[in-house]
Symmetry: C2
């Protein structure tokens, strides 16, 4: 299956995984490569992914995710992080865009200055941006996974500070969500119904 509309409509949050089918590190890396095609402000790319796929690491994560079995049963659980202080990493992140000539020196410098002004003294906006960028990448990851016959589930039920400590996250890494990915098991719920569009959309 690869049709985007069909993938969006058929994706569901999986609780049941095939515990026998793993993903290779290359397959995991390919999924993240696709996830990083997500947009971010100024092309900040203020994200980081920890692929929890060894038995030892899964067991380490399990209690911090309140015992949710899919952490163990899925092939991999990604700790999707957004990163703080994005203005400090932007010069390096944006340099290739300058080098290939998509933007010129004036735009490069202008964006660096704009980002400095927006983020430097605004930790709340830094956190918003970390969650925004991490979530955009996570959604891309889940749809990419579906396109490869995999299922996924985003999880916010975990101890953020304990995960940060147990997996040696940097002080600037904000764990935005966990995303389990793997081949489906046999006991998944159907997709949950959504509100009618008219309840969430206003035209002006």
């Amino acid at each position: 299956m690869s049709d985007i509309t069909e993938i969006i409509k058929s994706r569901f949050s999986a609780n049941s995984y095939n515990t026998q089918r793993k993903l290779s590190d290359q397959e995991i890396s390919d999924l993240i490569e696709l996830a990083t095609h997500a947009p971010s402000a100024f092309n900040l790319q203020n994200w980081k992914f920890v692929a929890v796929r060894s038995e030892e690491a899964k067991e380490r994560l399990l209690p911090l995710a309140y015992g949710q079995q899919k952490v163990v049963d899925s092939a991999v659980t990604f700790i999707v992080c957004g990163t703080l202080k994005p203005h400090e990493t932007l010069p390096a992140a944006l340099k290739p865009t300058l080098d290939v000539g998509i933007i010129n020196d004036a735009i490069y410098t202008g964006w660096l200055n704009a980002a400095q002004n927006m983020y430097e003294n605004n930790p709340a906006f830094q956190r918003d941006e970390a969650i925004r960028s991490g979530s955009l990448a996570a959604m891309t990851l889940m749809l990419a996974a579906k396109g490869r016959g995999l299922v996924s589930a985003p999880m916010i039920g975990f101890d953020q500070s304990a995960v940060a400590e147990a997996f040696n996250l940097a002080p600037t890494d904000v764990p935005v969500m966990l995303v389990t990915v793997g081949y489906p098991g046999t006991e998944n719920w159907p997709k949950k119904p959504r509100k009618p569009v008219k309840d969430v959309l206003e035209f002006v």
Copy 2:
């Protein structure tokens, strides 16, 4: 084009739009219907979309988005909102999932209680959740648009409180980002390069 991998790889943030080609309200509604297939914690669906598509509304938004011309040139700019106090709207949002038998009474009640405990006295976590859900929906929207031959651009450069006031957002509506959507113009930049995967992915 509908292949998910190709769509993810070829989507870019558009600055240039075909000002002659509009979208019907039905086409706009169809895009939002797809966006709401995004996941949210507990199936909260804590999102709301304002489709800014009339000339009057575009002109109202333009200065609040610091004069970014794509607000006027694109067919529609969505004000993508996440909503606060999601535990208060969850009973109604989750009821159809109970009614069709996907979850039972015990799970329904359990999720309502869990959400109450997680969000009620934690406004920071409510804001995180609003940004998370809004961003997941926005990413789905942008990929759905690409699948229909449209281009899009997420924007965080706008005056959040002025937009909230000018478009009569509720106090619980957090404008997460603006997303312009339309048919492409002739002067778009190519997609900006991304960091190598090895720089953002760690295996454990």
